[in-house]
Symmetry: C2
Subunit: 251 residues, 2 copies
DNA sequence: CATTATAATATGTCCGAGTAATCAGGAGAT
DNA sequence: ATCTCCTGATTACTCGGACATATTATAATG
């Protein structure tokens, strides 16, 4: 009863509903899709997703790809799977909200205002402290990198991609000067997510104010080796960024 | 007694290479194994791991399980896989060092002293600020939970598991009172990892000093709604924890 | 020598079968 | 009637093999 095996027409016939080539790898696209769906509240915590075979078929992908995507979500604390109960969305306090991907997914759709405020509150705690440490530990090379980045920001302004890259370099150089890996990872994740949104919202209109002098103040304090001044200057910077972001989210 | 099924037992040849029974599922055990190997420096950044089939065979597991484990590591930024180049360990600045699992893996073997210092430096930045926010935002229920936890700590002392659980409850209650998800996730991850190590190292000997009064000072300040005092009291707490940990790592 | 075609190789995706764990419900004992 | 234990059903988990795709290295070509 086992003869028929010459079905040499798997799936490539006519329909091309395959999300293949969405840019990333397939499982990455799936993880992105379900991840954003969870972060945006489309799947509520506690809710159990449809079974593997059903969901995989619905997405028109193999179970392997679907499962590998779910492993990613599981690794980030978004879902949990158990043999009989199925796969369910975990409560929000289990999510790795500081994971770069999770942050990106959170900002992919309209981000929650409350969450953005929380992130800026965290930035306002961490970044001034980072500037303080940088003022104490920076060496000549650190200052050189910062100075170069600052000059590039002046030349290109934050309206251009080059200018924003210089901005990232500037902050990155400060973090480097703290000599603290954990601090670097944390601030880099948050900063990237927040800046990405800011850029997205603001891309067509000018920034409300010129942030170069504020950046320069941070640099001067770090170069002078003045921790208190560095911390204060960075605090102002974060505060202004919060104001800009909040005003842009009022639209 | 129906016993017809052949107990094939895929991974129980004779050798004890069976990563099963490490607690979690198979792929979880693999991820744990390779994760700790990477964190402990056994696989250096830049190094490319053996091919899938080879490595999977070496671990005596199927390729599917191995791949799902690698997806977990990829999701945490430890490795990167590309079609021809193979799977290579990413540079340290790409690792999600704040991921709970990554932290656990980092502390599984002898943790790097430098890294522990960095983590405590981060704690010293974040936790006092959290206590400050808690002092401003706590309500009656928050204080009730803290008070209960504090009483439990007094009863059981930190030498018992019950006492340590109460300690975690106390800090957790403070974080809850900040009303900031991001802050909660961050501090919870770090605190769990650090406390876990502390407990592990200290399990046989008494703590150098009685930490209850210091905890009580934090509670009093938060209850009084005094942000500055709360911040200062928490700063002392973290500092003492650092001293204890450092002295225990001298052995 | 530079550029382009080709082949080799490792990861990516798909499929189908069987295993293990968990929960619901029923048979039997207390 | 209540509890315990067994049995069955459901679901994720693991396995093995096959094919597709992307990237690199190499050879062929002008």
């Amino acid at each position: 009863m086992v003869d028929d095996k010459a079905v040499s027409d798997p799936v490539s016939a006519g329909e091309t509903s395959k999300p293949r080539g969405t840019g990333r790898r397939l499982r990455g696209a799936i993880a992105h899709k379900i991840g954003t769906a969870i972060l945006s509240g489309h799947y509520a915590p506690g809710q159990t997703l449809s079974g593997e075979i059903a969901f995989a078929e619905e997405l028109d992908v193999s179970r392997s790809a679907y499962r590998e995507a779910m492993q990613v979500l599981t690794a980030k604390g978004l879902v949990e799977s158990r043999p009989k109960a199925g796969t369910r969305v975990l409560p929000r306090n289990r999510w790795n909200l500081l994971d770069p991907d999770v942050l990106a997914w959170a900002f992919a759709e309209e981000p929650d205002v409350e969450f953005v405020r929380n992130l800026f509150e965290l930035r306002a705690i961490v970044e001034p402290a980072a500037a303080m440490l940088a003022a104490q530990r920076r060496d000549r090379d650190d200052l050189k990198v910062m100075k170069t980045a600052l000059a590039a920001m002046r030349r290109h302004t934050l309206a251009t991609e080059l200018g924003r890259a210089a901005d990232r370099d500037f902050h990155s150089a400060i973090l480097n000067a703290t000599r603290n890996d954990a601090l670097m990872v944390l601030t880099a994740s948050i900063g990237a997510a927040v800046n990405w949104t800011t850029q997205y919202k603001h891309r067509a209109r000018a920034l409300p104010r010129n942030p170069i002098p504020d950046h320069a103040r941070v640099y001067d304090a770090i170069a002078a080796g003045d921790p208190v001044a560095a911390s204060e200057a960075m605090r102002v910077l974060v505060e202004l960024a919060l104001e800009d972001t909040q005003s842009s989210m009022m639209d």
